[in-house]
Every structure is written in structure tokens, then in C-alpha cells.
């Protein structure tokens, strides 16, 4: 098999520190993400993985450090602006509109791309309708891609958890992100669902060239699909490299398996 082309650094995180009162969630974290790669952030519970994602997409503001995205450096990210710049994300504890259909949920992901105003849309005026059709087509491609055709009109709340996760991914894809942040995409899934999700993540990366930053607990998954891995423990970076390098890193082994002091 041919190897994929990994580009230059697209997202650079430098010396990030984040604390909540006396709790230091992240201490002096630096790592970078290259274009088209799958970058994993791993670590035990409470290591600061989700906090790291939240800093990147502007939910949290770190006290120190800077994030550079496509050459622009920010001391803190604004979550709306992050989305406009092309960073999408999924959530560990699904944040979907449970009462709305799959299509409607995916259409919300197109929100930023819709140009026509509220009044135009409410009155279904020509341009607004044409625009809606255009976005609906985009959404249909995502439905096809994620193989959820059978559930188009099903309210999301009625779907099994594994499929809801897929819809969550679909909504993030709908905004056509350049970088996709996935917060534990396989959490709570059975083996088969995990395999499906792995395939979708790999396909997103391959078909759309989307750069993926993912947090995951399942080591098997991480080691199989990631190009590079960052390891956090108690808010500190203890390892960074290819899955093989990380696997043989003494500090990582002791963080995961414990040490006999």
C-alpha cells in the first residue's frame, strides 16, 4: 500500500498551561499537528486530554501559552472563530438535538455556511431554497459516507448509542472542517461498533484529507490508526512520537501500568 502524504505543521500548541484555581489541569504542554495526519492524545483518566481539546477549540482559555493555526498565533481561541477557521469537533458525551431527525442534526452542522437570512429562509424564497438544496446535497453525501441512509428521518434520541456517535461525527463533518477534533469517538462502544468507527475515521482522513486530532482510551485503536501520539499524565506531557516509540517509552509504560517504587 502506498503511504499517504503528510504535510507541514497546521496546528502548533506551545507551552500551554491551564489551571482551575489550585488545580493544574495542563502544565507547559507543547506539541504540533501536521496536515493530513491522525494525531492521538492519550493518557489516564484526569490526565487533561479533554482540557487540551477544549483549549484548542476555545472552550477554555489557557493562562499561558499560544496556539498557532495556519500561521496565525492566538493566546486564546474564540470558539466561534475556531469553527469559522475550519476546526470541527465531536463530543465525549454527545451533544445532539435528541428530538430532531438525523438530517436536521446534520443540517445544523452547515449553519456557518448558510448565507441567506432568517426571513429569506422562513419564507422559502428562491435563493434560500436553492441554498438549502445545495446544503442538503452536502448532507446527503455525508449520510451516504457514514451509511446512515436508513435513519435519515429518525429522531436522533431513538437511535442506539453507536449510531448517535456516528451522527455526531456526521455533524462535525458537515462543516467541512480542515481539522477534526474527536473526543473519545469509541467510548462505550462494542467491538463491532469500534471497528466501524475506526473505518470511518480512517476514511475521513483518507477521502477528505481531513487532519484528525483524537482522544481515545482504547490503546488498540490508538496504536492502529494514529500516525503520532501525545501522552499526557497529570497535566504533563510524558511522551510524543509514533505509536511504536510511545509504546516503548519507559515513562508511558509506568504511567499506564504503574511502577514498583
Amino acid at each position: 500500500m502506498a503511504t499517504k502524504k503528510i504535510g507541514d505543521v497546521i496546528l502548533d500548541v506551545k507551552n500551554i498551561s491551564l489551571s482551575f484555581g489550585g488545580v493544574k489541569a495542563l502544565t507547559d504542554i507543547s506539541f504540533n499537528v501536521k496536515e493530513h495526519e491522525i494525531r492521538a492524545i492519550i493518557g489516564p483518566n484526569g490526565a487533561g486530554k479533554s482540557s487540551m481539546l477544549n483549549c484548542i477549540n476555545g472552550v477554555y482559555t489557557p493562562q499561558q501559552g499560544a496556539i498557532t493555526f495556519r500561521g496565525k498565533t492566538f493566546s486564546h481561541m474564540d470558539s466561534h472563530q475556531v469553527a469559522v477557521m475550519g476546526i470541527g469537533r465531536t463530543f465525549q458525551n454527545l451533544a445532539l438535538f435528541k428530538g430532531m431527525s438525523v438530517i436536521d442534526n446534520l443540517m445544523t452542522g452547515r449553519n456557518l455556511k448558510i448565507k441567506s437570512g432568517l426571513l429569506m429562509q422562513a419564507l422559502r424564497l428562491g435563493p434560500a431554497q436553492r441554498e438549502e438544496e445545495f446544503h442538503r446535497e452536502k448532507v446527503e453525501h455525508i449520510i451516504d459516507f457514514l451509511e446512515i441512509q436508513a435513519f435519515r428521518k429518525t429522531p436522533v434520541g431513538q437511535l442506539p448509542y453507536g449510531l448517535q456517535k456516528r451522527v455526531d461525527l456526521g455533524r462535525a463533518l458537515a462543516m467541512e472542517p480542515q481539522v477534526l477534533l474527536l473526543d473519545e469517538p469509541m467510548a462505550g462502544m462494542n467491538v463491532e461498533e469500534k471497528q466501524d468507527m475506526c473505518r470511518f475515521v480512517l476514511d475521513v482522513n483518507e477521502e477528505f484529507g481531513t487532519t484528525i486530532v483524537l482522544i481515545e482510551h482504547d490503546m488498540g485503536v490508538v496504536m492502529d490508526i494514529s500516525d503520532r501520539v501525545v501522552v499526557l499524565d497529570y497535566g504533563k506531557k510524558i511522551g510524543d512520537g509514533t505509536p511504536d516509540e510511545v509504546r516503548n517509552n519507559e515513562e508511558v509504560i509506568s504511567a499506564y501500568l504503574g511502577t514498583s517504587h
Binding site: M1, A2, K4, R136, E137, E140, H141, I143, D144, F145, E147, Q149, A150, R152, E192, Q195, R199, L202, D203, E206, E207
Partner: protein, 648 residues
């Protein structure tokens, strides 16, 4: 009909160029392919394959679900005088090795990454495979397997050739004769290697036309193609008859959306094996049980009227005015909306075949106004041997011989068939051919049956499976395993049954519960369970199955011929019988002998009168890995009825 499949394509393309030939739902919209566009696509594919070196008389496999480009490829292959072989898309790699090597296949057209992976996996054992074309490029971008190409690339290459040689395609098509081999179908076969059934354009088209004229099919029919194209039934309905009649074949979006697509398309001509009809009915009944009290009462009342009046109305016999009125009200309130929900609003002719259908199931569909009928045929006969006329559909017969067919019964009860639709023989297997196709032109179906008083054919079982009880109270009684199995399978709670009794003193059965139906039944009774195996072994479930077995016994005791086939003991299996584990054929028929060996411990325990038995089994998962499943199964006795008591 003196013609061939590619000629028919050109005929439709010139007579009705803009009419839709196929529709495929993609991106949420039904996309139509006109006959003209399809003919163009076939020409390009044929040109591409010709350039790639596909030779006259050579075989090419197509593997995938029902897609316009799959059928277009079959037509393209036939246009070159080569022979398409559709293979089952859900077969595991190892199962494809024999057909590929047997027919020396170099060319393959497959649907997607899953099928490509399958061929790559077995490529070492089929070294002659040189060209693999895939329809859907998803996930295949990084593959650099030699000989692997996108179908789009083949079409592009063909386009250039076709535009330089505008008359080439028509010349090629004109060379094909009706007597040429048109396609080969591999029968799943319950024993040994599969056999390639060779059919000509003439044999397939003759049967397609016979069926079409029997039911007066026109080019206005709508058909939904959702069963495997490798199965001759699907191939007749969405290929042979499609080209013979020129109607529209609709391809569903995915396997999961078939029920939605069925409702949207509203086919006029429909075909499904009994298990599909059963699945639909089960889903209706489960939803009905969840409905409110008023709806349930209304449903029950209307269904009673339907049961009483519906079949008579379908048969065209006399029905009183009051009954007619009641039925009309029921039709307005329940049957009509129900037909619509099932996607059967426009069905003019619906067929079921392949397995026996339960009388309740059969009557249900006819009673709500769906013209469901049965037919009899096999791969070797190009399907149509017997068909039920519109007004004479019965659950226990398979109809009258259709045009061109002669039927004769051998001394052992075997049904012999002579028809213009008979196959040429099994590919490279004259011994097997000689066993079933005798020199006098009769095909031995290996089904045992008889013609009833109205000239309708009735099937009992496979000839070789009809056995005798040996020893015990029923010594020498006739034992028809499939007959017993089917009677049990007619209960919604039972999905699969294997019956043993030949050469033994009593009949014992192993049962697979229907997970949906029994699961729902259990939930309704607040019966908690962890999964299939756990549910199967619940004492309450045993009681439920026991009730079914005893009802069957009571029924069998009334049958003078088969009273000795009553079931004495049974057990419920902890795993579903599965084609991937070799327990079922690809068409979901139980492989009785194989199962007897694999589950020997259980069968022995049944006959030894044990009440429980431990067993450990190897299973294959869908991703190709294997593991083992073990359990201790309970066995139970069932009450049997003496034939005398029933008669008294």
C-alpha cells in the same frame, strides 16, 4: 423468442430511449437510468473489457448487491460472447475459490472494498485472476494491488474505443446467438462443491417470457431488486424478465433501507422468499402489540373479517353483501393503510418460493388483499416450472405446470420436469449432470411430491430426506424431516429447526428461537435476559416452544401418512445456525447432516434421554475471526398424540 439479452437491450433503447430502465436511490433521491443511457454504458463497458482482453466464451464474475452498474456489466460481458457468473456478495472468500478456479476466471467486477479485500485474500489460491474492477472507490485509494482498477477507468477507456469504432458494439451483439451460453449460476449445494449451472439466452428468456405471459406482465411493472443477484430467482426477476418485458428495476439504497424503499417505490410485481414475508408480518405484529387498546381491538376485529372474507374475495368466489361491506370498511381502516405501510399498495402479482410458506402467513397476506402466490422451480429449470393462477392460490401447493412444461412422477415419488428452460448441464461435471438430466430429456428435481385432484403440484420433501422410523411404537412410519421442520417454523417464535428421526425410534428436534419475536415476548412478561444464548435457555422459553411442538404433534396425528413423525424430544440451541459456520446454505436451508456431526453430543443426548448436555463449538464471526462458544443445554420431552385417539 429468438433473441438474446444484449439484443433486447438495444431493442428497448431504440423503441423507448427515454423510458427509465433502472432506478437507483442515491443521496436520498431516486436517480433514473434511461434505456438509452444504459445501452451507452453497456457499450462502453463492453469496449473496455474487450480492450482489456476478455475473450469470447470466457467467464467473468460479478460480485455485489443490486446496482445498475452490476447489471450493466453482465450485459457488457454477454455482448462480447463471454459469460457472466454472479456470485453471492455475502459469501466468505474461501467459498469463492471453487467457482473462480472451476470456471478459470480471470476477470472480476466487484462492488466495493469489502469484495476487493475478499479477492485479494484468496488471490494466491486463484493465481489466474488478472483484472479486478471495483464500482465504489471508497477506501480503495491506497491499494496498489496489480490488476486492480476502478470501473470508472474501464468505462473511460471503453468510451474512447467506442467513439472510434461506432459500429463495433452492434456488430458484436449481432454475433450472439440464442443458443449461446448466457450465464452460469453456482448452486449452493447442501453437500460437496457447488455446481455451475449453465444456461443459454434461449433457456432463460423462454422461461422469463412464459412467466411474463402467465401473469400478463408489461413494461409498466415496477420491481424492487433487493435479493442477491447471484440467486437465480433475483436474476430472473431483475434481469431476464426485466429485459424480456422492459419494465423498471429499482435498486435500494442499502440493505438497511429496503423497507423504506419498498414503500417509496410501491412495486407492482414482487418476489420474496417466505422468510421475508414472515419478517414483515412479525414487525407488524410487534408494532401492533405496542399500540393502544383501541387500535388493537380495531385491528383484531378487522383481521377477523379479513380472515373470513378476504381469501374468498381473492379467489373470486361468491361473498355475501354484508361481508363485502364489512370488508370494504376494514379495507378503508386497516388493510389499505397496512398495505401502504408494507409497500404493497400497488402490488398486482406477488410470489413466494424456495421454501414452504405457513398457511397462516400465506392467508394473512391474501386476506388483506395482496395477490400472493407460490411458484415452483430451481436454478436448473430457470425458475418457472409451476405457477399458481390468480384465483387458485393455496398454501400447501405450488400451482399448475406453466406453458411448455411437462411433469411426470417417478416411482419413488420424485418429480421429473421437461421444459425449454432446462439448463445445459453442470459446468465441467458430466457425472453430476448425468445424475439429474437423463438422456430422454427429463430433469430429476429430487423433490418428492404429487399432483392433487385439481392438477396442482404438492411438494412433501426432498426425495433423499424422506426416511423411515425404525423400532419403537412407530416402527416403519414415514418420516419427512422438512415437513416437520416447516410446520414448526410456521410459529413466529421459531426461526430454524433441524429434525432427526430417519432410522431411529423417535423424532427429536433442535430449535432456533426467533430473537425478535421471543425477545419481545419476554419483555412483555418482564423476563430479563442477557442475550440470545441466555434467552434461549430460559425455562419459560422452553415452555413456550414446548407448546408449539405439541400443537404440531396434535396436527401431525391427524395426518394418516405422517402421524409417526411426531416430535418426542426437543432442545433450544444457544446459537443461531449460520451460513458462515456452514450450518445453513447461502439460501438459508439447514444442512442436516453437517449439523448432526457438529452437534453430535446434543443429538446423542436427545436420544439417550438426558436432560442436559454441555457443548463447545467453534464459530466464525463476520469479520473472519473465529472463536468458541460453549453452553450447557437443557432438553425437554413433548407430548405426542396417538393417531387413533385423534381419529376417535
Amino acid at each position: 423468442m429468438h433473441t438474446t439479452f444484449p439484443q433486447l437491450l438495444l431493442k428497448h433503447a431504440s423503441e423507448r430511449p427515454a423510458a427509465p430502465a433502472m432506478r437507483e436511490k442515491e443521496y436520498g433521491i431516486w436517480q433514473a437510468h434511461s434505456w438509452l443511457a444504459l445501452a451507452g454504458l453497456v457499450e462502453q463497458l463492453a469496449a473496455g473489457l474487450h480492450q482489456a482482453g476478455l475473450a469470447r466464451g470466457e467467464h467473468m464474475v460479478v460480485i455485489g448487491t443490486n446496482r445498475p452498474r452490476l447489471y450493466a456489466t453482465m450485459l457488457a460481458v454477454q455482448s462480447l460472447g463471454a459469460i457472466p457468473i454472479p456470485l453471492y456478495q455475502d459469501a466468505v472468500g474461501a467459498e469463492c475459490i471453487f467457482p473462480l478456479n472451476n470456471a478459470e476466471v480471470r476477470f472480476a467486477m466487484v462492488e466495493d472494498q469489502e469484495q476487493v479485500d475478499k479477492l485479494i485474500e484468496i488471490r494466491e489460491r486463484c493465481p489466474q485472476i488478472s483484472n479486478i474492477y471495483y464500482d465504489d472507490p471508497r477506501g480503495l485509494r491506497k491499494y496498489d494491488e496489480p490488476g486492480l482498477n476502478a470501473l470508472d477507468a474501464l468505462i473511460e477507456a471503453g468510451k474512447a474505443f467506442a467513439s472510434q469504432n461506432p459500429s463495433w458494439f452492434r456488430d458484436e451483439v449481432a454475433k450472439i446467438q440464442p443458443g449461446d451460453v448466457a450465464a452460469m449460476f453456482f448452486t449452493s449445494g447442501t453437500t460437496g462443491n457447488p455446481k455451475g449451472v449453465v444456461h443459454t439466452h434461449a433457456s432463460l428468456l423462454d422461461r422469463a417470457m412464459a412467466g411474463a405471459s402467465f401473469d400478463k406482465l408489461t413494461h409498466a411493472e415496477e420491481v424492487l431488486a433487493y435479493l442477491p443477484p447471484a440467486w437465480i430467482g433475483q436474476n430472473i426477476f431483475s434481469y431476464s424478465q426485466w429485459l424480456a418485458c422492459g419494465y423498471v428495476v429499482n435498486c435500494p439504497e442499502s440493505a438497511a433501507t429496503v423497507t423504506i424503499d419498498l414503500k417509496e417505490i410501491g412495486p407492482t410485481y414482487y418476489f420474496a422468499p417466505p422468510r421475508v414475508f414472515e419478517g414483515l408480518l412479525t414487525s407488524v405484529m410487534i408494532r401492533m402489540e405496542d399500540a393502544g387498546a383501541l387500535k388493537r381491538k380495531l385491528f383484531a376485529a378487522c383481521m377477523n373479517v379479513a380472515k373470513r372474507v378476504g381469501p374468498a374475495l381473492m379467489d373470486g368466489s361468491a361473498v355475501g353483501a354484508l361481508d363485502r361491506l364489512q370488508y370494504a370498511i376494514g379495507d378503508l381502516l386497516i388493510y389499505g393503510p397496512l398495505r401502504n405501510t408494507l409497500g404493497f399498495s400497488r402490488v398486482r402479482v406477488a410470489y413466494t418460493a424456495g421454501e414452504a410458506i405457513g398457511p397462516d402467513l400465506f392467508t394473512f397476506y391474501r386476506s388483506i388483499g395482496i395477490n400472493l402466490k407460490q411458484l415452483y422451480g430451481s436454478t436448473e429449470t430457470a425458475v418457472f416450472v409451476c405457477l399458481q393462477p390468480d384465483n387458485q392460490a393455496r398454501a400447501d401447493t405450488v400451482g399448475v405446470p406453466c406453458a411448455g412444461v411437462e411433469i411426470k412422477l417417478a416411482d419413488n415419488g420424485e418429480i421429473l420436469v421437461k421444459s425449454p428452460g432446462l439448463f445445459q448441464g453442470y459446468y465441467k461435471n458430466p457425472t453430476a449432470t448425468a445424475e439429474v438430466l437423463t438422456a430422454d430429456g427429463w430433469y430429476h428435481t429430487s423433490d418428492a411430491g404429487f399432483l392433487d385432484a385439481h392438477g396442482h403440484l404438492k411438494i412433501i420433501d426432498r426425495v433423499k430426506d424422506v426416511g423411515r422410523i425404525k423400532g419403537g411404537v412407530n416402527d416403519g412410519a414415514m418420516f419427512a424431516p422438512k415437513y416437520v421442520e416447516n410446520k414448526l417454523k410456521f410459529f413466529t417464535y421459531i426461526k430454524e429447526v433441524v429434525a432427526y428421526g430417519d432410522g431411529r425410534e423417535k423424532v427429536c428436534v433442535m430449535v432456533n428461537i426467533d430473537f425478535d419475536a421471543v425477545g419481545n415476548w419476554a419483555e412483555r412478561r418482564n423476563l430479563s435476559y442477557a442475550g440470545y444464548s441466555d434467552l434461549a435457555q430460559k425455562p419459560e422459553v422452553y415452555a413456550l416452544i414446548k407448546e408449539c411442538v405439541e400443537k404440531v404433534n396434535a396436527d401431525l396425528s391427524l395426518d394418516a401418512l405422517l402421524a409417526g413423525s411426531q416430535v418426542s424430544r426437543f432442545l433450544v440451541l444457544h446459537k443461531e445456525l449460520d451460513a458462515d459456520d456452514g450450518e445453513l446454505t447461502r439460501t438459508n436451508k439447514v444442512k442436516r447432516g453437517f449439523i448432526a456431526d457438529k452437534y453430535k453430543a446434543l443429538v446423542d443426548a436427545l436420544y439417550e434421554g438426558k436432560t442436559a448436555q454441555f457443548i463447545e463449538l467453534q464459530v466464525k464471526f463476520e469479520d473472519g475471526r473465529s472463536g468458541s462458544v460453549s453452553a450447557t443445554l437443557t432438553m425437554d420431552d413433548a407430548k405426542t398424540f396417538s393417531p387413533l385417539k385423534a381419529a376417535a
